[in-house]
Amino acid sequence: MGELTLGVFPSLVGSMSLDFAFKLAEAGMAKGHKVNMWLSGNAVMMAKKGQKAFKDYSHNEKKMKELIGKGMEITVCEACAEARGYHKEDTPEGMKRASMDWYLAKTVKTDRLLHIGGE
């Protein structure tokens, strides 16, 4: 089995690219691969706890927590988060915050990288 790293930059709500990323991560893990996810740019708002689920908006918090529970490593860009007023105490359990070098370092060992750029 291999290691797949997803770099995800699009917004929490709108493009549905984040929804794609989580479904792909789930499928990757179901096939036994290790999956890492880096949330950066507008995607960092995905990692803010306390989101309310409305049917008019994408809502991935539950799936994110499930995947973290199954071993997905997910890290959010600290500077991008702080710039958006989202602080350490807002981070869901099991999620890491780091500087951009975390993502760069992951590219070394991962077998495949899918970098999903922002809008």
């Binding site: 789930e26 691969h33 495949r112 990288l113």
Partner: protein, 99 residues
């Protein structure tokens, strides 16, 4: 190079896709990129599907989300699921590009 390109837009402002070359090229249509597989603008196939030597795939979930089924898909394009995308990334191609 074995390259899997993910097209997630219908209208694009860059010409990167047209210039990309690979010994083995897979084009995975996701998000609004699925319209390249089903819309015949002016009665013609999307120019994306004329990329020489490429294999084309479209994500079934994103087809269904937008009101299409496999029956609407251009014969050049194979309908796949998320698990198939994982296999393409991990087994069939070495690099990916999300455009």
């Amino acid at each position: 190079m074995k390259l899997a390109v993910f097209l997630s837009d219908w209208r694009r402002t860059e010409d990167t896709f047209e210039r990309l070359k690979a010994d083995k090229l897979g084009v995975v249509l996701v998000g609004n990129g699925i319209y390249h597989a089903v819309v015949k603008e002016g009665g013609k196939d999307s120019p994306v599907l004329s990329k020489a030597g490429a294999s084309f795939y479209v994500l079934s979930d994103d087809l269904e989300t937008r009101g299409y089924t496999a029956a609407n898909v251009n014969s050049k394009v194979k309908v796949i699921g998320y698990g198939d995308i994982v296999d393409l990334i991990m087994n069939d191609y070495e690099k990916t590009a999300w455009l």
